[in-house]
Symmetry: D2
Subunit: 143 residues, 4 copies
């Protein structure tokens, strides 16, 4: 199984009035990482169309410890825990070499912009994302 690893720089403005990185900013980090995987990396392979249309249909973060702004990027590691007919489920960890800050889970649905409707994952797309698929039996990794 491959893990997608993305170094995501923080911004000072990610902190809120309590002086910690705001809980909403973590979803930006997931987005940045997803943009790298789905919009930049996937289209380098044949038949990948998610960059042309996809929607987040569910997402969740569990926060493990507070974070303050620092120069060093955090690392967002992402892999696939489920591939359904019309939905990919990603698990993510936001971490650095010392600590894990949060666990994330994102369901992405392919979306046909012309019809304005969800669509099925194509065989080529499935093939690409299976490289990142966690094997059954190890599937508790989300927690």
């Amino acid at each position: 199984m491959l893990k997608h690893s993305y170094r995501c720089p923080l911004r000072w403005s990610d902190m809120d009035a309590f002086g910690h990185v705001n809980n909403v900013a973590y979803f930006r980090y997931l987005e940045e990482s997803r943009v790298d995987l789905v919009f930049r990396l996937a289209p380098q392979h044949e038949g990948q169309e998610l960059s042309r249309g996809s929607v987040v249909s569910r997402q969740e973060i569990r926060y493990l410890r507070p974070m303050e702004y620092r120069e060093a990027p955090v690392v967002v590691e992402t892999w696939v825990v489920d591939i359904k007919a019309a939905a990919l489920t990603f698990a993510s960890v936001i971490r650095d070499s010392d600590e894990v800050y949060a666990h994330g889970s994102t369901v992405l649905t392919p979306y046909d912009l012309q019809t304005g409707r969800p669509r099925r994952i194509t065989p080529k797309e499935r093939e690409f994302f299976e490289f990142y698929l966690e094997k059954p039996g190890l599937a508790e990794a989300k927690d």
Copy 2:
């Protein structure tokens, strides 16, 4: 059971390059609503200390339909589905009079800023949030 209802104005900048309200913005709407309930409304009652320190320890949104910027605010309805020793779980619906756009779930943990540690919910706090507590047996409301 009370439901907290908050009219949350959108901003044009909540939309992303796809011309829809970005999935991350929905968490801002939950935050705005929570600020109203926990930072403004709760402190009007005796013994409410969450506004002085609390952290989001988990949150989730399930997206039901896309939204575009419009003048009319969305309504964020929030109620309590669980009160544990050191965690309040809120359920939210983001809606207007016609449509439901998303369901949210948020776990809030009281936090002692002086010690930098989670703390227990006080009896006064429990008393306040029980007004918003969904009765057992109806607890599937999150879905």
Copy 3:
């Protein structure tokens, strides 16, 4: 001369780690106000096309006093100080009934999305924005 007046709600997240509304958020307030004037109000009148394409080509804010998050919206008052062949200059004040928080200045250029180029202001557009034009001789109002 008309002044466009827009009540702009703050968000708690507009504050930064110093506990004040971040200087960048004030430009969001100008944007929200401009969306109301140029995207909502102007198109109710004949021949107004700026909502289909326009770019900010210069903007400036002078900050007079710090602001903290509060429930009450701020008011953004905007009027026109100059109309050139291909540029509208707006002056804005961000205020409430007690205080002035900032002065803003924005140059907006009509933009033809099909050609990807700036274009001239049409006579109908000029006619509309002249209602908001400050008369020469009073033009120091920016300060």
Copy 4:
């Protein structure tokens, strides 16, 4: 004269519904660059206190060409064009190796958090920022 140079990564969410980097995001790039110069670099030198308290009292951007999200950071180059008793004026250019996207100007005022008032620049601070000061006679660089 030194120029401070900061490589600022874009975020996909910096784009707005028109598919360009939103004009407000450019002020975030200036902020990120200023955080690097004033909060990170300056405190490595003796007697620099601006990181403990300073406010932006005026800022301006002139936009030269639209920008889309891309992987490569933009470079924010910043230097000092004026040092007054209680105000530092910075000029900035947002660019990459091919293009200049915007010119910025920022006035920063030292701020005493204890008294809640502006304060004067200290000799040590002046000494540090003079390394970045453009010599008189070249002072049109803002344009």
